[in-house]
Amino acid sequence: MQEIPLTQILFVSTALFFIGMYGLFTRRNLITMLMSIELMLNSVNINFVAFNKYLFPDNLDGIFFTLFIITIAAAEAAVAIAIIINLYRSHNSIDVDDASEMKY
């Protein structure tokens, strides 16, 4: 069976990263922006696993890094959602454009 080359996997992960970045810059809903950041982190996960499997299969550095990224992304999401809930209480909205009192 033919193996998928590394470059194609890297292409997917890079595309995913920039789709996430695009989402972060264009979406105005805070939850969607958070999801975009998760997308970026997941593309990094793909990178790590692919590098580990294709180039350095002897040790598991990349796989372990992925586990830690997943854990920390969960912690980050927990704090971010708590902050968004508190923002909703004071602003009655989770649109970033409504939370723009401070400028310049």
């Binding site: 990263f17 996430g20 972060l24 805070l30 922006m33 958070l34 950041i37 970026m40 982190l41 593309s43 990094v44 990178n47 790590f48 590098f51 180039l55 350095f56 550095d61 990349g62 372990f64 890094f65 830690f68 990224i69 920390i72 912690a75 980050e76 704090v79 971010a80 708590a82 902050i83 968004i84 508190n86 923002l87 209480r89 004071s90 602003h91 970033v96 939370a99 723009s100 009192e101 401070m102 400028k103 310049y104």
Partner: protein, 470 residues
């Protein structure tokens, strides 16, 4: 046989972890008055600071993931000192706050993350420390739960820091892909400057630039500083910046040595833009915290010039400047936090005629601003001088002249504040403030620090003896 080495090498982290546990038990236990808790915490922080100086030992733990030496211990002591001063200054603000223990738990956790980040000898450890230091800070920025600006600031901080750590992670993943390891010492041997490694380096340095708010990545800074409570702003602007800068120097001088020419250019461009934009925006601010935010951006520009010198002097002048920056910036934040906690006013125009009613606070603020601007008798002048000299070692005098000219611009906005304190007429100046004794002591420490670190050459010599070069 039990190995006691681990206890000695990890003692600063373990002390903080112990403090966090004690605080959790105080929180669970019977009600105590806020003042007694605050006094206890301040005492504990003082003991923690003193114990930090007791012994230092070179070594590494966990297969090189964590390493420590005299320089790293000294850097951690600096951060402990800054936290101690901030804690004493926020006495008036925390005295009436029923959630004060949470504030300390968040800041201690963040500081512990920074300690691990400074000591890291492995990219995984570095990333964990970085996240451990930023996530609690976002929660702390939202500490004034009912204030609209506070939640806006926290939202901006968590989104931008998550974004920056995603960029940093992409850089780390490419670095891993090209070198096959996460350990700093092995990565150095594999760096040869191929395009993918350069791309990884650019991503890494962008992530760092976010955290130290160097210019193309500074947009979150002013908003977060303005919205957060003053104690958190002081923490962000001094401790978190200092920790990331220490790590940056460690990475640049020890890991990215083979591409030193590349990162020299990157640092010089970043420094020039950072100084210029920071100064220009600081000129037009009226809110004191926003003003200090832009002034701290400009200071980071000067620090980057010193780092670009890539010598022992570069590393030593950075730590020396951070020491001075702790004293002078915290003195300024101390006065602002006092005024903010007691009157709720944070604008520079509110300080008109401040000298008539509060001469002591006025002098503290003036000395702090003189030191930030770099007026000779204060330590700030020597700090900037050493940074410039370290930067000039590379022979690129254009950037040094540019920075010196920008120092003149910065005099204008620092002295404008001094003018409004001493000279401007105001029919309704701020009333006389009752400063708690603890906060007074913190301010005296800062003022003495600003003067003594400038005049006593022992300090710089000691730091220089600890530092390392390229």
């Amino acid at each position: 046989m039990m190995n006691y080495n681990i206890l000695i090498q990890l003692r600063q982290e373990l002390a903080l972890a112990l403090l966090i546990f004690i605080l959790l038990f105080i929180k669970l236990g019977k009600d105590r008055s806020n003042e007694s808790i605050l006094n206890f915490i301040n005492m504990a922080l003082l003991i923690n600071l003193g114990a930090g100086f007791c012994c230092h030992e070179t070594g590494e733990l966990f297969n090189g993931m964590f390493n420590t030496n005299a320089l790293i211990v000294f850097e951690k002591n600096l951060l402990n000192l800054a936290l101690f001063i901030i804690s004493m200054q926020s006495f008036a603000w925390l005295k009436n706050n029923k959630n004060l223990i949470e504030f300390y738990i968040l800041t201690f956790t963040s500081l512990m993350g920074m300690f691990f980040m400074i000591s890291s000898g492995n990219l995984l450890m570095f990333y964990l420390g970085l996240e451990m230091s930023t996530i609690p800070l976002a929660a702390a920025a939202n500490f004034d739960l009912t204030k609209r600006k506070s939640s806006e600031a926290a939202m901006k901080l968590i989104l931008s820091s998550a974004f920056s750590s995603a960029i940093l992670l992409l850089g780390i993943s490419f670095l891993y892909g090209t070198t096959g390891t996460l350990t700093f010492s092995i990565i150095t041997a594999h760096i040869n400057g191929n395009p993918l490694q350069l791309f990884a380096f650019i991503l890494l340095i962008s992530g760092f630039a976010f955290k130290i708010s160097a210019v193309p990545f500074h947009l979150w800074t002013a908003d977060v500083y303005e919205g957060s409570p003053v104690a958190v702003t002081a923490f962000l602007s001094v401790i978190s910046k200092a920790a990331v800068l220490f790590t940056l120097v460690n990475l640049l001088y020890k890991v990215f040595t083979p591409i030193a020419d590349t990162w020299y250019l990157v640092l010089v461009v970043l420094a020039a833009v950072t100084i210029l934009i920071g100064n220009l925006f600081a000129l037009r601010q009226d809110n004191f915290k926003r003003f200090l935010a832009y002034s701290s951006i400009a200071q980071v520009g000067f620090i980057l010039i010193g780092i670009s010198g890539s010598s022992q002097a570069g590393s030593a002048s950075l730590i020396y400047f951070i020491l001075i920056y702790i004293f002078s910036n915290l003195a300024a934040f101390g006065v602002v936090s006092m005024v903010s906690a007691l009157t709720g006013k944070e604008n520079i125009s509110d300080f008109n005629g401040f000298y008539k009613t509060n001469p002591m606070l006025s002098w503290v603020l003036t000395i702090a601003l003189f030191s930030l601007a770099g007026v000779p008798p204060t330590a700030g002048f020597f700090g900037k001088l050493f940074l410039m000299m370290a930067g000039a070692a590379k022979g690129n005098y254009g950037i040094i002249i540019f920075a010196a000219l920008n120092m003149v611009v910065s005099f204008y906005y620092y002295l404008k504040v001094v003018k409004s304190i001493f000279m401007d007429e105001n029919n309704t100046p701020l009333e006389k403030l009752e400063v708690p004794t603890v906060s007074k002591i913190a301010m005296y420490i800062c003022v003495v620090g600003v003067i003594v670190t400038g005049l006593a050459s022992v300090v710089y010599d000691y730091i220089n003896s600890l530092s390392f070069g390229l």
